[in-house]
């Protein structure tokens, strides 16, 4: 180590994108998570994007085994986890190989030289060391022997060599924390809490973290530090939240606001399992979780609980939704409230389990036998998943219908600061169960298919209510009395009634963002593309070009003003992470020739690539 340098004032930046990359077992997700939490606590706005392989441990040191976590933090409100990393921390040659192409010219690369051995270079398919050839020319490269420095720092700590080595992610985090002036208390508290059962490991990690910080401070190579001032966020209480956690909290809050127990029936599936994990911890809020024997049992249990007066929920990803279709049809037929969450991933079949996609939209819309309409909604950011869960519950409870909520991998694992709402400000979701016979003929009978005039919802009469004993099921029922009916005119009436109920759901109009009102091109998105589209529009406008944007939360029914909005623009561009599923639905519904801009790499849109695409539409280069 060199002697301490004279401190220079930090360089002010508006924003930075940092990516940690390493082997699956290198703790990159934890390092990224802590950098996010410390940045959030510091007051930056931020967005994150974890990216990890489907294999729990792909072969060590290989490109398929690389796991990364990208954090974008800024002194203003940002919308995406960032396209390209300004700083890449590469813990081995494979991590460098997998991420090198994403770096813009002039990016900073910090490599763990200890892992750049002949064997690891071969595993990553490097003929020569990228540290010694032209691979990294144009980048600022810092070669740091992180493994040996960490081991050295822990030489007297009493932990094993293996445990010492494992703390190198905290060394890397400490170095970054120093470079960007991050607070350190949060991570130190976190480590002591996380490893409370093994204090020597906790201390080793804290020591490694501090060693990384000190290395930056004492090494001339790292002469420059950077400062990213806190963002000016609306006042209030904030926390860092992922989409899956926000969904789980939203469902818990929905149960509380409805005054109903919540039953989640779920089968573990990537990337939805964290919803099950989170809800399993909230039993004191009346949330019961049932890890079912399969996807079908998960939704079956939720529907059974709904019959008994609970808020039934099931969570899954695309392959699981396919298995749930038959009971979804039963839920449509029995007209019981149910919330179904599909955290979309790359498909078809097993596809890309850990990558993101929006390709289940048509499955959500149409993936059932018969005319089986149900409402579909989509959150647009990790924090928005909370509100979307409440909205799904509202529609399900008020209209007695299954509701499909389409999240995706980017939202599920991505995180952002979230303005924590006051429980009393959340929507009132209370429902009234039926208590009295309701037959219009005054016979004193209970008719399960008499509908509310305004919502067309049928009464929710739960077991335990005397005098309202009734049978429901998958067979067609007579309009009103609800007995089995094979009558053709009745079937037609019931099919149309079920459709009319969904079509009539109260959905707010969309608002269009067009700052100067000059735009003749509208960008319309849904779901997790909200951030990238917003960032792209900023860039387009910064180039002096007008563009309007709007974003759909409600995909069925569409907002009432959507047709008029689409007609008002010369061109409508619909970016989607599929082959144009929403675009097709819009064409069918409104006869509008929208431009589909699609991407199916398993990765979110980058702001820059999307901005370029929008510019060419605006300039009339493609339409």
């Amino acid at each position: 180590m060199t002697s301490p340098t004279v401190p220079r004032p930090p360089v002010r930046l508006e924003r930075v994108v940092i990516r940690f990359a390493g082997d699956s077992g290198d703790g990159m997700q934890l390092a990224g998570d802590r950098l996010s939490a410390d940045s959030a606590a510091f007051g930056n706005d931020l967005a994150t994007r974890p990216d990890f392989p489907a294999e729990i441990r792909a072969p060590q040191g290989t490109v398929p085994g690389v796991s990364s976590f990208q954090v974008h933090f800024a002194d203003y409100d940002i919308l995406t986890p960032g396209d390209r990393p300004d700083v890449l921390v590469a813990m081995n040659p494979a991590a460098l190989k997998a991420n090198a192409a994403d770096m813009p010219p002039g990016a900073t690369v910090i490599v763990n030289t200890d892992e750049f051995t002949r064997r690891n270079l071969q595993r990553a398919d490097y003929a020569t060391s990228p540290l010694e050839d032209e691979t990294l020319s144009g980048h600022v490269v810092h070669q740091v022997p992180m493994s040996s420095l960490t081991r050295g720092a822990l030489a007297d700590s009493g932990v094993s060599r293996k445990d010492a080595e494992r703390a190198k992610n905290m060394f890397a985090l400490g170095l970054i924390a120093w470079m960007y002036g991050r607070p350190t208390d949060g991570t130190e508290t976190f480590l002591r809490r996380k490893f409370a059962a093994r204090p020597e490991i906790a201390e080793a990690n804290v020591t490694a973290f501090r060693a990384g910080w000190n290395y930056g401070e004492t090494t001339e190579a790292f002469a420059t530090t950077y400062e990213i001032a806190p963002a000016s966020l609306p006042p209030g209480t904030y926390r860092q939240i992922t989409g899956n956690t926000a969904l789980a909290l939203g469902l818990t809050a929905a149960g509380q606001r409805a005054g109903l127990p919540v039953l989640l029936g779920s089968y573990p599936i990537t990337p939805a399992s964290d919803i099950l994990h989170e809800l399993a911890r909230h039993k004191e809020f009346g949330v019961l979780t049932l890890q079912a024997e399969d996807e079908i049992a998960g939704i079956g249990a939720a529907l059974g609980a709904a019959f008994g007066g609970a808020l039934g929920v099931t969570s899954t990803s695309g392959p699981g939704l396919a298995l749930k279709s038959e009971i979804l049809g039963l839920a449509v037929m029995t007209e019981l409230p149910l919330v179904v969450i599909d955290v979309q991933r790359g498909g078809p079949s097993t596809g890309l389990p850990t990558k993101t996609e929006q390709s289940d939209l048509l499955q959500a819309m149409h993936g059932r036998n018969g005319e089986a309409p149900l409402p579909v909604i989509a959150p647009r950011s990790p924090g928005d998943c909370f509100d979307a869960a409440l909205e799904a519950a509202r529609i399900a409870l008020a209209y007695r219908t299954p509701v499909l909520l389409l999240s995706d991998g980017a939202l599920a694992n991505g995180s952002e600061p979230w303005l924590v709402p006051e429980p009393d400000d959340l929507p009132d979701l209370r429902v009234e169960f039926a208590t009295e016979p309701n037959s219009p003929d005054g016979s004193g009978a209970f008719w399960p298919y008499v509908r509310d005039e305004s919502t067309l919802a049928r009464p929710w009469a739960i077991p335990g209510t005397p005098g309202l004993e009734h049978r429901i099921g998958g067979l067609e029922k007579s309009d009103g009395p609800g007995g089995i009916s094979y009558d053709s005119a009745n079937h037609e009436r019931m099919v149309r009634l079920r459709q009319a109920k969904i079509d009539g759901i109260d959905v707010p109009d969309i608002e269009v963002d067009d700052p100067d009102g000059r735009a003749d091109v509208l960008v319309l998105g849904w779901g997790s593309t909200y951030g990238p589209i917003g960032a792209a529009c900023r860039r387009v406008r910064a180039r002096g070009l007008p563009v309007a944007r709007t974003h759909l939360r409600h995909l069925r029914p569409f907002p009432g003003n959507l047709g008029a909005v689409l007609q008002a623009y010369r061109q409508v561009v619909v970016p989607e992470m599929n082959l144009g599923q929403l675009a097709g639905l819009l064409r069918a519904a409104y006869g509008v020739d929208v431009v589909s801009h699609s991407k199916v790499t398993g990765q979110p849109f980058g702001a820059e690539e999307l901005a370029d695409a929008l510019v060419s539409v605006i300039k009339g280069e493609s339409a």
Binding site: L290, A301, P421, P466
Partner: protein, 361 residues
């Protein structure tokens, strides 16, 4: 671990279900729907038995729920004036599980058939049984697919000629009692549709049991598999064919109790033999409550040798084990803390941004 040690709410299957105020009759349980099974169908006998047995339970009718899948037997809920769901094929146990977990005040029954429970719904059946959810499963076994008009089922005998097996079935069938015992079921019984007294006795025992109860009911399909159980129903023959299982008593049968069940030292299983040959002391004594289901399993696979077909009926197993739903609710009750929804939403790492100022980390 006993249920008492776990602080279970009650060891009786109906402990939490409220009782009716006045007496009830079978008529109270008849819905206004016209029964639509084929004339002579065994389902009528089971329906009549259930309608006349439910009043004896004395429960509030509104706290009883029947859930079925798909098949002839799955029409059952429509004919009972209780709450009910006619769900989808094979999945009734899943809906029943969700309902039983959230509503301990309900008596939850599943009505299913050999195709519904053992073929398309096999997975849900075995998992309901191992979980031991407080629900009762009535498995109507007619060894045929009736509603789809006569294909063989997972309980059809090998060689059976049906529309889908014109050269005879080459499938090996399940023995539902063996399957249930293998799936760790705590209550397993068998009854005949035509013997109302015995069926009623078994239904009563199932209702009393806290946990998942499986009752296999031999049920005749007069249209597609008529006479499937004639060997054990014939008035002259049946005394030689039916082995009534009585808890705590030696297993024996015949007009004078002249046949018995003994252990076969060669195979380790059980076999039928004349009591005169074996002596009374050699007869096995039925122990339905035994923690180890081995003897119950052996009874379900009895070797009758030269004696010809025999069918043990009654309760094979009625053992105590904490139920899934009780344990789930107990965990929920135990985790009651002081934390509010506000605490939950804030989490442990919240920070505050003050108005008109930059934030305070």
């Amino acid at each position: 671990m006993s249920t008492t040690e776990l602080g279970m709410p009650g060891s009786h299957g109906l402990a939490d279900v409220p009782l009716a105020e006045g007496p009830q009759t079978a008529k109270d349980y008849r819905s206004d729907q016209e029964v639509r099974w084929c004339p002579g169908c065994g389902d009528y006998a089971v329906l009549a038995a259930v309608q006349s047995f439910l009043p004896d339970l004395g429960l509030r009718r509104e706290n009883i729920v029947f859930i079925s899948g798909i098949g002839c037997s799955s029409r059952f809920p429509y004919y009972l004036d209780t709450y009910g769901i006619h769900s989808v094929h094979g999945r009734a146990p899943t809906l029943a599980t969700g309902l039983a977990v959230t509503r301990p005040d309900l008596s939850v029954w599943v009505v299913t058939g050999d195709g519904d429970a053992l073929s398309i719904g096999g997975n849900h059946l075995i998992h309901a049984l191992r979980r031991n959810v407080n629900l009762k499963i009535l498995l109507f076994n007619n060894r045929i697919y009736g509603l789809t008009k006569g294909q063989y089922s997972p309980t059809s005998e090998p060689g059976k000629v049906t529309k889908s097996t014109p050269l005879g079935s080459v499938d090996h069938p399940f023995n539902p009692v063996s399957l249930a015992l293998g799936a760790e079921a705590t209550f397993v019984a068998r009854a005949l549709d035509s013997d109302r007294a015995q069926l009623t006795e078994v239904l009563r025992a199932a209702a009393d049991h806290r946990g998942t109860a499986l009752v296999e009911i031999y049920q005749n399909c007069p249209v597609f598999n008529d006479g499937a159980f004639d060997a054990v129903k014939d008035p002259r023959e049946r005394v030689q064919r039916i082995i009534p299982l009585r808890d705590g008593e030696p297993v024996r049968f015949g007009a004078e109790g002249e046949y018995g069940v003994t252990r076969d030292p060669r195979t380790g299983g059980l076999r039928v033999a004349p009591v005169a040959e074996t002596g009374e002391d050699a007869l096995v004594v039925h122990d339905a409550a035994a923690g180890d289901p081995t003897q119950a399993f052996a009874l379900s696979r009895l070797d009758s040798g030269d004696h010809g077909p025999v069918v043990p009926v009654g309760v094979f197993r009625a053992a105590r084990r904490p139920t899934y739903d009780d344990l789930v609710r107990q965990q929920a009750g135990r985790s009651g803390g002081d934390s509010t929804l506000r605490d939950l939403l804030r989490g442990r790492d919240a920070w505050t941004v003050e108005p008109h100022r930059r934030n305070t980390p």
